[in-house]
Amino acid sequence: MEKSRKEKYIGRRMPRRDALVKAQGRAKYTADYRTADMLWGKAVFSGMAHARILRVDAAKAEALPGVVCVMTAKDLPAAKKYGIFCADKPVIAENMILYEGDPIAFIAAETKEIAEEAAALIEAEYEALPVVEDPREALRDDVPPIHENHPVTGNAKVMAEVTLDRGDVDAAFAEADIILEDDFETPQIEHVYLEPDCCIARWVDDTDVLEIVAPQQAVYSTLRALAPVFGLPESRVRFISPYVGGGFGGKEDSCCDLAVIAGLLAMKTRRKVYSEFTAEEVFRYTGKRHGSYVHHRMAATKDGRVIGLDIDIILDKGAYQSMSGLTGGPHAVAQRTVLYAAGPYSVENVRIRSRAVFTNHPYGAAMRGFGAPQIHFAGESQMNELAHRLNMDPVAIRKLNMITPERPTSFGQVLTEENGLGLEECMDKVKAELDKPFMPKHPVRPSQRRGMGLAAYIYGTGMPYKSEGAMCVVHVNRDASVEVGISTTEMGQGAQTVMAQIAAEALGVPVETVNVPLPDTFLSPDSGPTVASRSTTFVGNAILDACRKLLAGFTEAVAHGVGCSPEEVTYAKGVFAAPDGQEIPLRRAIYMAATQAIPQSAVGIWYPPVDIGFGPKGGNSMHTYSFGCQGIDLLLDVETGEIELLRSVLACDIGHALNPQLVEGQMEGGAVMGLGYALTEGVEYKKGVVSNDSMKDYVILGFKDLPQMTSIIVEAANCMGPFGAKGVGEPPLVATAPAVREAIRNASDGVKLNRIPFTPERVITGIYKAKEGGQTS
């Protein structure tokens, strides 16, 4: 990417426009919109992970003074189930409890205290059923299926199965010099967004509209999923998402879990209803990153070429579909584990199968990385093992295998320099940075050993569906200020800021005059969900399209006004220049447009100009891919298993950094999240019931644990992205865990740990097992 860009706002470090109001406490989140007249809406749960419901009796709860209404399954007005991809999650459980988060009743009461008292008065009887926690066990013939009558899969145990079968895998393994075979495990983890889920719903009586305010990542997905539950057309349900206190993929689904409670109670009572989950309830009831069990076989030549992969992936689906994917599409998380199974490498012979299997755990949801962290843990660990086996440099072996214009992806997509291929630069820069001398500032204990490691990743921008595209409306006011209508959520990533930069750049107006309102289905067009590292690229392109259309209209208006052809009019820095030397400021041009029936609003749209289609034999999946490399430098105490992080060096090829400050924020946040995944995080269960349901027991890293962090931005421009951009939201955490594994391996003379998180307990146990000559895991 040439560095002498002429853009005024693009590529500039601009502070987030929501930073000041958030720092000052003026930014309003959903719970800040509570009012005194609201009812308290509460869902009642069984406390069990798998049970048949024999009886639910709400009579005593209903009789409690202050209780306005109690709903059980028989009181539901319309659809009884919901879901983003398919309606399989009961609004209120009628017959079966399939995980701890299946509610048995909703209560609306005058106060929180009354609602809680009423919840204790709900009488229910259950027949406890055996809890299925491990998807591998779930597949056993002697274990009954979780679902007896799933709307899509019936009584099947597998929700989604996605395969990729290319080349001749058996021949590749037959002629391989080296075959590496191993198993890898990753746990379900919680998003740990700081704002617990909550929702305010009210029935707007004068327009017969149900209005729902809640933190959401995808207002239109929520709308489509829930309008049937309310029995209303989508045009009469209004979803608003104020500032969101973190989502990380979780608030695609969890907002639905809250909105059905408050929404139905508001419809029934015709009162405003507030409902919330405590932080503990978020841990127990909302979706999790899919746990994974990967059996990985890699065939390679003695010079380091990977010639075959045979991989079987089992995902812990939890109880409901959410984002696992549907067999036949959309394939979602199961598919991404297949797409990224070969990593950023070109492997001709692949046989990959991924199955999302039902269990009695919380539903496997979207979470930052969407399947990529799980499969990269296995794949990049194997790549490092191959380098050890051949005594090759980890970067050299990756360069030998990486995707190039001549060497397509494992699913057959050809990527050229125009798509942006920055992996090599990322790896070189990480290695150079790790090679710099660095000494810890404190004395190192004799039992502490130093280790470094790295891993690489590939991650697509957007979703691999034909329906994946974005729409927006850009409106220019008479004073030339601009409104950008999009449904992109502001959840801390800086969407409002970068979208304003794009619109200001394209229209040649001051960035301060561009307003990017927060999502509201009554006012914002559907620019798609705020997921999949897609917003800057997809929505940004749609904004550019709208701006081009607006300027074309204004140019036409000016040309007509001064009596020349539009081609003779030029536009720069807010001023139109006519061939006769006249200069017409944008404001004047807008007025001219208004007098000539030329619109001051434009719909912008962008779909990637690539034939997207993924089948068992492959196909194009995303229009571009982000690449990157994570380096880790740590100290391992070989007597206690404690890990002290020294350095995290992360290089991300993000096409072009439209706002490097925001990019670095994503990179640092992603690396920290990845380090937590590698070292401490994991949902724990007792009989399917979450046992570490608080910030005290579910350990995420704190500032004292963090290493020195270096974020290196690499820019291999995406010719289809706005100003060359690709996605950066999710990729930074994809390769962290395998890099940590490799650093531990190098610090411990070869201890192989294949199960995250690497807690001191797991690490020291692995070290002792290796000492005793046993297989580590």
């Binding site: 008292e117 204990r445 039992s447 105490d637 007597e639 206690t640 005290k696 350990v699 704190g702």
Partner: protein
């Protein structure tokens, strides 16, 4: 329902009378354990008596060669007392003990009362040879920390008693250290911890106290380890303990067996460089 009742006596005498007459009343002394129990539904409708405001229990002073602090003194208050420089392990523990809000509320005496096997400060008091005064309406008795704990959540304290004062002997030339193994630094429960104190007599360890936490049901001192290290230099002691295992330890989880001795050795090593600093007269 997360409801509880709260009494707030104004004097120690009043508090002891309440405890004498109503043995079900629980002294609330920081609440960093008890309020968690209320929130988790383990304590149903308890009757609490808040003792944090009792002036008799808020004193910190040096008396008769000991650092004395009242049963309602918080971690923050203790941390602000210059005399704790005599005990380097206390500073080490306080900097990583929970978080500032918890240290503002929590008290050493309160954590002694709830007797968590993983309580960091319980271990430190043990390693420093502390003793505590238990008072009731009937009188007062003094108990050394080594005899205070009976089991998880169980102590020798009678329901009618309050911990009035904790005393730590000020010993010139005492070295001490506290180390813990957690999943992250700070704000995490100890998986294994150790606190040690000793004197160095011409470079050799004298009067060692080696305390180990989060391994048995109660924090304990390892007499066998203390015997091994006595008379050795810290380097020799570390070497002598390599591969050893404290006979008193009875870990339920296998990995604790691996890490107990390394943690003790680390504490011994760190203590070598950490001599108490105090205005000895």
């Amino acid at each position: 329902m997360k409801k509880f009742s709260l009494m707030r006596p104004q004097t120690l005498e009043e508090a002891l009378t309440i405890l004498r007459d109503a043995p079900d009343v629980l002294p609330l002394n920081g609440g960093t354990d008890l309020m968690v129990d209320v929130n988790e539904g383990k304590l149903i409708s308890p009757r609490f008596m808040y003792i944090g405001g009792l002036p008799e229990l808020k004193k910190i002073e040096v008396r008769d060669g000991t650092l004395c602090f009242g049963g309602a003194v918080t971690y923050t208050e203790l941390g602000a007392c210059p005399d704790i420089s005599a005990f380097p392990c206390i500073g080490q523990a306080l900097s990583n003990l929970a978080s500032p809000p918890i240290r503002n509320m929590g008290t050493p005496a309160g954590n002694m009362g709830t007797a968590s096997p993983a309580g960091d400060f319980n271990l430190i008091l043990l390693a420093l040879g502390a003793e505590a005064d238990l008072v009731s309406a009937a009188g007062m008795r003094t108990v050394p920390l080594s005899e205070f704990y009976l089991g998880v959540g169980k102590t020798v304290r009678e329901k009618s008693e309050l911990i009035a004062e904790i005393r730590i002997p000020l010993v010139k030339g005492q070295h001490s250290a506290f180390v813990k193994l957690g999943r992250r630094r700070g704000q995490d429960i100890s998986r294994v911890s150790s606190a040690v104190s000793y004197l160095l007599d011409e470079g050799r360890i004298r009067d060692p106290r080696i305390a180990i936490g989060a391994v048995n049901a109660v924090p304990f001192r390892s007499g066998t380890f203390e015997e091994i290290v006595s008379g050795k230099t810290p380097d020799e002691a570390e070497a002598a303990l390599e591969g050893a295992f404290p006979a008193e330890a009875n870990p339920r989880r296998a990995y604790k067996r691996y890490v107990v001795t390394p943690m003790v050795r680390r504490a011994i090593r760190e203590a070598q460089a950490q001599e108490g600093d105090w205005q000895w007269s």
